[in-house]
């Protein structure tokens, strides 16, 4: 409860701040922003749902050339920041880009421009970067959860498709819901990507109101609207999960019996997975490499200097510490939920995940307000220079903000592992005299190992990509890779920005590969 309160404090501070503004006028276009947001959410949810589940099914139920490599490579788009993919996508498919240029040279100059900048375009880009959330959780569910039920259905004569539809999908529902909830919250708070595509979501409204009218109060009220969306999403997720608790009995699942595909079927399966991977990862990386190369050829001194390493180290340290902290908080929460299980604890756990659904800059204001308040309190209590470490613009501030914001993905991953631990296991450990701490370290932690690994990776990657918080809370001289990309990209120096962007992707690939490659091989 205490942990939850600490994590939720900045969100609450923002809510109070918003409420304290009194009645504020929402912009006249709020209605159309809400509609646009709903469209974008629906589109991305369907897109990631179909793509994530479909690919997870493909690599779990069938065997085809390259399956094993593809099954973890398909996670890689997670490492690609959506704002980078958005920019690459636009520069490739927009009027002045190579694709339309080539089309025009073939089909004639009069070819009308393609409607790239639209909700549709944004849905495509967001789907391609976010589907791994669904894919990961769906694949884990197919692997660990369902084989026995699926085998039973098959042996009773159900076709593969039918068994998938009527047995596997319902069983995997909690995981799919958790994945989609993460996707939805990412989409809700996205600002950079949708802005490229001229899509007016409520989050864009927050920025427009804040920066256009200098009205922080109204902006925060709009942010609360975003938060309400998130609450609705989480409620839906809970409802989808329903009372369903599917516990794994016996040892680890051995996975589905795989059918080997041959000939054109194998080619299609492989081709589909490869296409997704190419669009979401390979092509953008290639394009970044081209830009980076041209920038290096132009003026290497301007692109690479001593600070390169410093930015990298900064980014890494913050991301690693944030990953550890978020995972720890999630573990404690999941553990407490399991032990106490009361409504209060469960509710508290839900509240901590809300930070994920608040636009980064708004979390930043919350953390700032809170820290300054603490600092003043310390001064009032007689400490000469405040709390010392609590001065604004410390790395600690960034870390706290990250924990506020990224506990959600960590908790979803850890929780998904915990629900699969049968309650009887916890109960037996307790009845055999293990204390709560011992239960956590000896029983829960080892059993939830998979989820912990996923949690660490998700937060690590998210924190590496994160921008608004670190931009707002960082101290003097503290620059990370993402800040650096932003500094260059905001002035349209994309060629120079390509190298650090590429580096973010490469660094993020490492934990993704380590975590999920092992997962794919385990079941042999």
């Amino acid at each position: 409860m205490l942990v939850a309160a600490v994590v939720a404090a900045p969100v609450v501070a923002v809510a109070v701040y918003g409420a304290a503004q009194g009645p504020v006028s929402l912009p006249s276009s709020t209605g159309s922003m809400v509609v646009t947001t709903l469209l974008l959410l629906a589109g991305t949810a369907i897109g990631t749902g179909v793509l994530g589940t479909g690919l997870a099914w493909l690599v779990s139920a069938y065997d085809f050339p390259l399956r094993r490599v593809l099954s973890w490579l398909l996670v890689l788009p997670l490492a690609m920041p959506a704002y980078v993919l958005g920019f690459v996508f636009l520069s490739t498919f927009d009027y002045a880009g190579p694709v339309q240029g080539a089309l025009r040279s073939v089909l004639g100059e009069d070819l009308p421009g393609l409607p790239v900048r639209s909700v549709g375009g944004a849905v495509v880009v967001l789907t391609l970067t976010l589907y791994p959330y669904v894919y990961l959780l769906a694949r884990a569910a197919f692997l660990d959860l369902a084989p026995s039920a699926y085998d039973a259905a098959r042996s009773l004569g159900a076709s593969r498709a039918r068994a998938f539809r009527t047995v596997l999908l319902p069983l995997a529902r909690p995981s799919l819901a958790a994945g989609l909830a993460l996707v939805t919250m990412e989409v809700l708070t996205d600002f950079a990507t949708v802005q490229y595509f001229n899509v007016r979501t409520v989050s864009v409204g927050v920025y427009l109101t804040w920066k256009g009218t200098y009205d922080v109060g109204s902006a925060v009220s709009l942010a609360l609207l975003v938060l309400m969306f998130a609450v609705a999403v989480l409620a839906t997720e809970r409802a989808l999960r329903g009372r369903a608790r599917y516990h794994q009995r016996g040892g680890r699942g051995r996975g589905l019996e795989q059918r080997r595909l041959h000939g054109w079927r194998a080619a299609t399966a492989c081709g589909a997975a490869c296409t997704v991977l190419a669009l979401a990862f390979a092509l953008p990386v290639l394009r970044l490499v081209t830009w980076a190369a041209s920038a290096l050829a132009d003026d290497a001194g301007r692109v690479v200097d001593g600070r390169f390493v410093e930015h990298l180290v900064n980014a890494l340290v913050v991301a690693v510490v944030a990953a550890l902290a978020c995972t720890l908080v999630s573990l404690v929460l999941a553990h407490a939920t399991r032990l106490g299980g009361g409504r209060g604890v469960r509710g508290a756990a839900q509240v901590t995940t809300l930070g994920y659904a608040v636009p980064g800059a708004v979390v930043g204001i919350g953390v700032l307000t809170l820290f300054v308040g603490l600092d003043r309190l310390a001064v009032a209590l007689g400490s000469a220079n405040g709390t010392g470490i609590l001065v604004t613009g410390s790395v600690l501030g960034i870390l706290v903000a990250y924990v506020v914001r990224f506990t959600a993905p960590a908790y979803q991953a850890v929780d998904a592992s915990f629900v699969r631990i049968p309650p009887s296991v916890s109960a037996s450990a307790l009845s055999l005299g293990a204390g709560p701490t011992r239960l956590l370290s000896r029983v829960h932690l080892p059993l939830a190992r998979g989820g912990v690994g996923v949690a660490l990776t998700l937060v690590l990657v998210d924190a590496l990509k994160e921008l608004p918080l670190v931009l707002m809370l960082r101290p003097f001289g503290f620059t990370t890779l993402s800040v650096w990309v932003y500094e260059l990209a905001s002035e349209n120096f994309w060629e120079q920005a390509a190298l650090p962007a590429l580096l973010i992707v490469l660094v993020a690939v490492v934990p993704v590969a380590l975590t999920f490659r092992g997962g794919a091989d385990r079941r042999g």
Binding site: P27, S28, S29, L90, D94, Y95, A96, G101, E109, R117, Q195, N198, R200, V204, Y207, L208, T209, K211, G212, T213, Y214, D215, V216, N314, V317, V318, V320, V321, L324, L328, A361, I365, L368, V372, D375, G386, V391, T392, G393, S394, V395, L396, L399, R438, L440, S441, R442, L445, P446, L471, M472, R474, P475, F476, G477, F478, V483, E487, E491, N492
Partner: protein, 339 residues
């Protein structure tokens, strides 16, 4: 012991947090701390300043609105001495919020024209950018433009399907529309924006893309900051996009400023003032040239590429109008369906 596994992250956390808190942030503290929403080539200008005066400077780059919120939250405890930002409206707003201190500097008053600085000395414009029309000379005869009110002239149906402009989230778009509201009133401006929309204007999310689309033949006319064109011309002199100084027979071309003020809670206001004075005089060229901006100081010449665009009349800058009307500008853009 299995237990170590749970304790390990804790230990790691306990050691890493102070490490992150102290080790990485450290380094020599400079004399002056600058919060800046502008970053291009600041480093070189500040290095020159240190060489001239011996005062060391470090700066923190961020977004306008976020940096201002940070200043507000930090209050008197702020490490910042100078707040530098890229829009007259933002400067006005920072002063309105009480974050900037009034300074008395005859040197700055002499170097910066009256409309480009605050009457109370809380902020000073230091670099200027013009937002004007660019076009494809193969398809557009500059005589087609309305020389009296070029921005409003683009509502003429003859421009249907030929226009590119920047999206409404850009402060550039907002301040242009805010200045039009200040000049002509809200209703007339609403008609102008609706006229652009009626002409099927293509909305782009950055200025460079606008110019590149014109160069590729995707549209014929755009509205952009002059330095983006200068930057692209520097890379490729045969780009095939030309600049037209808007509204020369009327109110003049819309300009906006980057500027700075001394932060209210600064503990080194004297050096902060010295920095502003240097940037407006000896440091003007170093500050504006690399980004192809226009000097605010009339005694300083623009760099050759910008000078090649020719001299022009500018619309006077009314920072309080830019700032106070910016919200209305967003409403006008929203209401017109500018997207």
């Amino acid at each position: 012991m299995k237990r170590t596994r749970a304790v390990l992250p804790l230990i790691a956390l306990a050691t890493l947090v102070p490490l992150a808190g102290c080790g990485l942030v450290g380094g020599e503290e400079a004399d002056l701390q600058v919060y800046s929403a502008r970053h291009y080539d600041l480093e070189e200008a500040f290095a020159d300043f240190t060489e001239d005066t011996g005062i060391t400077v470090e700066f923190l780059y961020g977004d306008d609105a976020e940096l201002l919120e940070r200043l507000k939250a930090e209050g008197d405890g702020t490490p910042a001495d100078v707040f530098m930002t890229v829009d007259a409206g933002n400067l006005w707003n920072a002063a309105e919020q009480g974050e900037l201190a009034a300074i008395d500097s005859p040197e700055l008053e002499g170097a910066v024209p009256a409309d480009l600085r605050d009457a109370d000395g809380r902020w000073f414009g230091l670099a200027m950018r013009a937002r004007t029309v660019v076009y494809d000379p193969e398809k557009v005869d500059p005589a087609e433009f309305d020389a009296e009110d070029t921005y409003a002239g683009l509502t003429d149906p003859k421009w249907a399907g030929r226009l590119c402009m920047r999206d409404e989230t850009a402060s550039y778009t907002q301040s242009l529309v805010a200045s039009l509201i200040g000049l002509q009133g809200r209703e007339a401006t609403q008609e102008v924006v609706e006229g652009w929309v009626a002409n099927d204007v293509q909305i782009m999310s950055n200025d460079v893309e606008q110019i590149e689309t014109i160069a590729a033949g995707g549209c014929e006319v755009g509205i952009t900051n002059h330095y983006y064109l200068a930057r692209l011309l520097e890379e490729d002199p045969d780009l095939g996009v030309e600049l037209y100084w808007a509204s020369q027979d009327g109110a003049g071309t819309h300009v906006n400023i980057s500027g700075a003020g001394v932060v209210e809670g600064s503990d080194n206001a004297a050096d902060a003032q010295a920095l502003l004075e240097w940037l407006a005089t000896d440091g003007q060229s170093a500050f504006v040239d690399a980004n192809h901006e226009l000097p605010v100081n009339p005694d300083v010449e623009p760099e050759p590429l910008v000078a090649s665009f020719g001299e022009f009349e500018r619309m006077p800058v009314d920072a309080s109008a830019y700032g106070s009307l910016n919200g209305e500008a967003v409403e006008v853009l929203e209401a017109a369906g500018y997207r």
